[in-house]
């Protein structure tokens, strides 16, 4: 194999990456570094089992007139994920620096304790398509992308209809770029259906209410595997971060509570 490519970028290029450049860097970034962005990590396997919320459970909950539960109930399931990330034998524990271990563990736990609102996304590692559909978001590198007719939405939150960035690259061109920079079979391994479908909002007393549009969920009933996990990410910023689903929070299936 020939030597890896090398070159130079001047300051103007660094400052002004246009929409096509940005799209190419996103698509070319997809790698299979284990544990971060690849689909079949212990995280995803864990998320497939009770007590985690999944797509069919979310559909059922959304049909109820009012769904509320306390924060500790909504995020009880997250304790298993937190254990994988920060418990004994975790990657965090492999750090040399004791203060950083503690700091990162506490901050990560705070993500389930402090924010007043969360996005809930269904991430379906088993659902790929011949080509990305126009009205469907896709998980790639911890982001949710949507390939619309006139733009690519990066870090797209379909519930709030906001994105971290909208790239003015027409769909046909974007799909052509996808074929170049994330060719099959890698595209199917690394890019699969995922979309924000609901929100979880907490009041001052720590009671969390599910916010979802039942009609929208019903329309999307068969777009995801029923067992696909539903995970949470904090909604603490005005716009979503471009990459916000690499460290998702586990959500409890609260159908049996109360």
């Amino acid at each position: 194999m020939s030597a890896p490519p090398r070159g130079r970028l001047d300051a103007a290029a660094l400052a002004r990456a246009d929409d096509l450049v940005t799209l190419r860097t996103i698509l070319a970034s997809a790698d299979e570094f284990p544990g971060l962005y690849r689909m079949r990590t212990p995280w995803w396997e864990t998320l497939r089992n009770p007590p985690f919320l999944n797509w069919i459970a979310l559909l059922e909950l959304a049909q109820r007139s009012e769904v509320s539960a306390r924060r500790e109930d909504w995020f009880r399931a997250n304790e298993a994920l937190a254990g994988l990330a920060f418990g004994e034998g975790s990657r965090n524990e492999q750090r040399r620096e004791a203060d950083l271990k503690a700091l990162l563990r506490e901050r990560a736990l705070d993500r389930a304790r402090l924010p007043r609102a969360y996005s809930l996304a269904v991430i379906d590692v088993d659902a790929t398509d011949e080509a990305p559909l126009e009205e469907q978001s896709y998980y790639l590198m911890g982001s949710l992308l949507r390939f619309e007719a006139r733009r690519v939405r990066v870090g797209y939150d379909a519930c709030r209809d906001v994105a971290a960035a909208d790239l003015a690259v027409p769909r046909e061109r974007a799909l052509a770029e996808l074929g170049v920079w994330l060719a099959e079979p890698r595209r199917r391994r690394l890019c699969f259906r995922g979309e924000v479908m609901a929100r979880l909002e907490f009041d001052a007393e720590g009671l969390g209410r599910l916010r979802a549009d039942p009609a929208r969920l019903e329309r999307r009933l068969n777009d995801f595997s029923f067992g696909a996990p539903v995970v949470a990410a904090p909604d603490a910023l005005p716009l979503p971060l471009p990459i916000r689903w690499t460290k998702p929070l586990g959500v409890t299936d609260v159908r049996g509570l109360g």
Partner: protein, 136 residues
């Protein structure tokens, strides 16, 4: 598309799936290389911030593609507030995952207009003494 990016993508095609490394700022530009995440490509690594009108921005291309990606997660969600702390976390992660450390340098590119495709940074306190400055 600027000449620098044109050149990068022309050379990159056979290597899609690698990770971009920004190696060293010599005042004229920044050397890049694309290689496996798992190989140390240079003793030094550069992280670029964009500055405009008293605010700092983080470019999307770097958030997705740089070897130390997901910096925004650390600064905006995990509460990493200083460059020194960010440098420690990034090197700690590199060491535990890849078994090496690098000298991380921070560069701010001063922009005359608001940079496109970049996220405003609210969480990080950027100490100018720890930043090299270049103008776009």
């Amino acid at each position: 598309m600027s000449a620098g990016w044109d050149d990068l993508f022309a050379r990159l095609a056979p290597f899609a799936g690698g990770t971009l490394g920004l190696d060293a700022n010599d005042g004229d530009g920044i050397a890049w290389s694309v290689d496996s995440f798992r190989r140390l490509r240079a003793d030094r690594e550069t992280i670029v911030f964009l500055g405009h009108a008293g605010r700092f921005y983080y470019p999307l291309w770097q958030e997705f593609w740089a070897i130390n990606n997901n910096v925004l997660y650390l600064t905006e969600e995990m509460g990493i507030r200083s460059l020194g702390e960010l440098r420690r976390v990034l090197n700690s992660s590199l060491e535990k995952e890849e078994g090496y450390r690098t000298e991380i340098r921070f560069v701010v590119v001063r922009c005359r207009t608001r940079p496109p495709n970049a996220v405003p940074m609210g969480g990080l306190e950027l100490d100018v003494d720890d930043l090299e400055e270049v103008s776009a």
